[in-house]
Point group: C2
Chain length 234, copies 2
């Protein structure tokens, strides 16, 4: 079980023109890690994977445990976080600065986790799209937004360096799951975080692409997709 490698199925650039079909089974994805984030076919909800359990935050706001499904895009790794340290910050920007400082470089991929209390947490879950799939920008705009005050849970996800912007969302890509498993999603903003921060820095990132998916193989992904990526993921 390798803990120095981040595994990714699918590539962010393929979502931009609307290649939202799930191309890897959840069961296969989980052979590459027990911690991670992702989504299902049609960007149906936001996935949070903790200790090998997959939670889906649906656009209804409901959180369910799932054991089956096909992912167009996901990141997982085997959790072996470093020792945690206390963190208490007022803003998401301050939290990101603290996380990046603990990672120690902008130039490696890393996983982050803050377990604790958040005075205010705002998340979103994309609504499931159906064929013909719209592009990523339109899909991301069709989202439900949720807010919760004084919520205890896990803020988690990955740091990706700017250089790999076609493959992964540059900067932090963060999801949240409450300890009560009744609230979560893709993190839009938060404030007043107090908890324990842990990070895990990777030497390697393994990108796995859907070799059997004809839509992917034939798609035109050569354009300037970065503007759409930035708009959709932040």
């Amino acid at each position: 079980m390798k803990t120095d490698i981040l595994y990714q199925h699918g590539t962010l650039g393929a979502l931009v023109p609307g290649l939202l079909n799930g191309t890897q089974k959840l069961s296969e994805l989980l052979t590459h890690g027990d911690f991670g984030i992702g989504t299902l076919t049609g960007l149906n909800g936001e996935l949070i994977i903790l200790a090998g359990t997959v939670y889906q935050v649906q656009a209804s706001g409901q959180v369910v445990v799932i054991t089956d499904g096909d992912v167009p895009f996901a990141n997982v790794h085997f959790a072996a976080f470093g020792a945690s340290s206390p963190v208490a910050v007022q803003t998401a920007e301050a939290a990101e600065a603290t996380m990046l400082s603990q990672i120690g470089t902008r130039n490696l991929f890393a996983a982050v986790s803050i377990h604790g209390q958040f005075d205010d947490m705002t998340t979103r879950a994309v609504k499931a799209q159906h064929r013909p799939f719209p592009g990523l920008a339109a899909t991301a705009a069709d989202q439900a937004v949720f807010s919760r005050d004084q919520v205890t849970g896990t803020l988690m996800g990955y740091w990706s360096p700017q250089l790999y912007a076609g493959m992964a969302s540059p900067g932090f890509h963060l999801h949240f799951l409450s300890d009560a498993h009744d609230f979560g999603g893709h993190v839009l903003d938060f404030a007043g975080a107090a908890g324990d921060l842990a990070t895990q820095v990777f030497s390697d990132v393994q990108l796995h692409l859907p070799t059997a998916d004809q839509e992917f193989l034939q798609a035109d992904l050569d354009g300037d997709l970065l503007a759409d990526i930035t708009k959709a993921e932040h």
Copy 2:
């Protein structure tokens, strides 16, 4: 021995500001493949790896077999090419079109090899740079150019999709080694190729980064490096 994975040490974007220090031993690199391309500290020559043997084309034009050295950047994989097919083309553009057609998609990483005769082959080898290292564009301009008529050898290298332009040179990155081991380098152009083409398409690419190199960890790689990459590699 996995044959569906392309291994890369280092990232192209880091060469742009001049991070030319070798950060992986050749012996370690070779545990990840027996076929590949790369360079040594200071971009000292062009490496061609065939059947586990590493040939260095020096800026003098001399080709030597090396067993030791540190690479800032290299791609290797375990060769398991598909059945070869005859190819006869007049130009490098036609050869690239034929290779891409055999790969079958622009959206996966792939290895290519054409063994045969080339009416005209033009290569370059960068001259070894020393500290303080110049940037990639200046380094690539400080090159020796070689030409050979009616040469028999192996044109080989990789196709990388445009999406990953920060990590790998987009399009084909090709090196050449003559059968006589007396001529080769980074391919600039060629004409009149007749030989056997083989390709190997990868589901996975594993990017390995130099986690112990402080220069890399602290470098500012967030700018728009793609223009310099395109200029230097083509």
